[in-house]
Amino acid sequence: MFRIHCPHCREARSEEEFSYAGEAHIPRPVDPSSLSDSEWGEYLHTRTNPRGPHREMWVHTAGCRRYFNVLRDTVSYKILAVYPVGEMPPEQGEA
């Protein structure tokens, strides 16, 4: 259980207000029909699933209902950074 600082509401709120939206930085292939089955399968299903810092998306479901990115340690659950969608995480703890 942890608190997440919503960059849109500018407030730290309980984890229960948010929904997890999966790993961040997985771009949809520009031309899906040119991909092989295994490349497409990898895009759909394969995840990095690291033990340590993980770049992930969250949405503030019970608040502003907007998405943002979080860099979180999956062992200590400590949030290392919160940053907007479309940006890369700050240097301090590269995943």
């Binding site: 089955d37 399968g41 759909l44 394969t46 990095t48 699933n49 690291p50 033990r51 992930e56």
Partner: protein
């Protein structure tokens, strides 16, 4: 191996039970083995046992970073059933259930398998349609399944609130009478003892820190006790499968999440079936020593911390109290989390990988305990013959490229 029997008990009683044989050896690792199994939980130990017993492969080591059965084998709610929806999964789990039925005799170790029946409740019209569909699918696959009305459920479980005034009223249920529970520690110990007796080396407190590959083929594992060579490496380390895969340069379609459970103080016998409900999300049974064993859900986010969110526990206990108002004053003794491998289709991955000689048995998600003997049996067969066992064939890693997923989100029991 010294066989356990009534006569043995009497004989040892005469010596004040001071001369019981050690249950398994604590050998020093050899330089190399034919097969190294990474992970000393139920699935890994069962794999070692069936490799030695059925296929005569005894040059095997089971490498475990902690103690036997200290991971998900010791952290689950011990429910055993085979009422899955799809053909592939119901055949696999039914094969496993049949092994459970004779497991204590097979291992000469009492795993306390108690086929007391597993109820799966429906709370809405949609739930009931899903349940009817699953009961029919089970029967077509030769698996016992019954459909019960709310009145029949009430008769079977008098303590349950089946009133139509409940917030989520019980409309009916499916019942698999052959399902039940077993003692999880005994499963790990029984398989360990029987595998050890066949000559398998069980190496506890030996952590795998790397997987060595040469020219696309595995050559062994780096461990905290030095390098151990192997012709085949079989990874059966739920929760950390992705970490092991990364050591061999592979990525898996798996995410690791905490799944929680809790037990109450011991009570007099009051609940003699396993009750499951996905609608309100709870599953509860009463262990032989009297505790209520309660399963909660997974956290929605990835985690390796072996602990989960308090809100998930709270949600499950709300559902338990709603279904069993009498339990509202029962105190909870302990709660814990285990890290489960979640696959996109809620089904396991069993078989070979792009690295020659490297095999994975993972992705059992929230319900791997019930599959322990079956998983070990088919994985041992897959390892020995270097091709998928027919029951494991639908669960190969390449299904995520071909798209032939086995969607079991409905029957897997836990919402994830």
């Amino acid at each position: 191996m010294e066989r356990y029997s009534l006569l043995g008990l009497v004989r040892h009683a005469r010596h004040y039970h001071e001369n019981w044989q050690r249950v398994w050896r604590d050998p020093a690792p050899k330089k190399a083995y034919d097969t190294v199994i990474v992970g000393g939980g139920g699935h890994g130990l069962a794999t070692a046992y069936y490799l030695a017993k059925v296929h005569g492969v005894t040059d095997v080591a089971v490498v475990e970073k902690g103690w036997l059965g200290g991971g998900n084998t010791g952290r689950n709610t011990t429910i055993i059933r085979s009422n899955y929806l799809r053909d592939g999964s119901s055949h696999l789990y039914e094969f496993s259930l049949k092994l459970w039925e004779g497991l204590s005799q097979e291992l000469n170790f009492n795993v306390m398998f108690s086929p007391r029946g597993v109820l799966y409740l429906g709370h809405t019209l949609h739930d009931m349609r899903e349940i009817e569909r699953r009961v029919n699918a089970n029967r077509l696959n030769g698996i016992d399944a019954e459909l019960l009305s709310a009145a029949e459920v009430q008769k079977l479980v008098p303590l349950m609130n089946c009133s139509p005034d409940a917030r989520y009223p019980v409309l009916g249920a499916s019942l698999q009478r052959r399902g039940g529970i077993a003692r999880h520690d005994a499963v790990a110990w029984g398989f360990a003892r029987a595998a050890d007796a066949q000559g398998v080396d069980i190496l506890q407190r030996t952590e795998v820190t790397g997987i060595r590959c040469d020219n696309g083929a595995v050559t062994g594992v780096e461990t905290s006790r030095g390098f151990i060579g192997a012709r085949k490496v079989a990874c059966v380390a739920a929760g950390n499968s992705g970490v092991l895969a990364a050591m061999a340069g592979l990525k898996l379609p798996i995410e690791s999440r905490p799944l929680q459970a809790l037990v109450s103080e011991p009570l007099k016998p009051c609940l003699d079936v396993v009750v499951q409900s996905s609608g309100v999300h709870c599953y509860v049974s009463q262990a032989d020593k009297g505790d209520l064993v309660i399963g909660a859900g997974t956290d929605s986010y990835n985690g390796y911390g072996q602990r989960g969110s308090f809100s998930v526990i709270e949600h499950t206990l709300q559902a338990v109290c709603e279904l069993f108002p009498a339990f509202s004053r029962v105190r909870m003794n302990r709660h814990w989390g285990g890290i489960v491998d979640i696959c996109p289709d809620a089904c396991p991955i069993i078989g070979e990988t792009p690295v020659r000689g490297l095999y994975f048995n993972c992705g059992w998600g929230t319900g791997g305990f019930k599959a322990t003997p079956g998983s070990g049996y088919v994985f041992a067969d897959t390892l020995a013959h270097e091709r998928p066992h027919p029951l494991a064939a639908p669960f190969s890693l390449d299904r995520f490229a071909t798209g032939a997923l086995v969607d079991e989100h409905g029957a897997a029991g836990v919402a994830h």
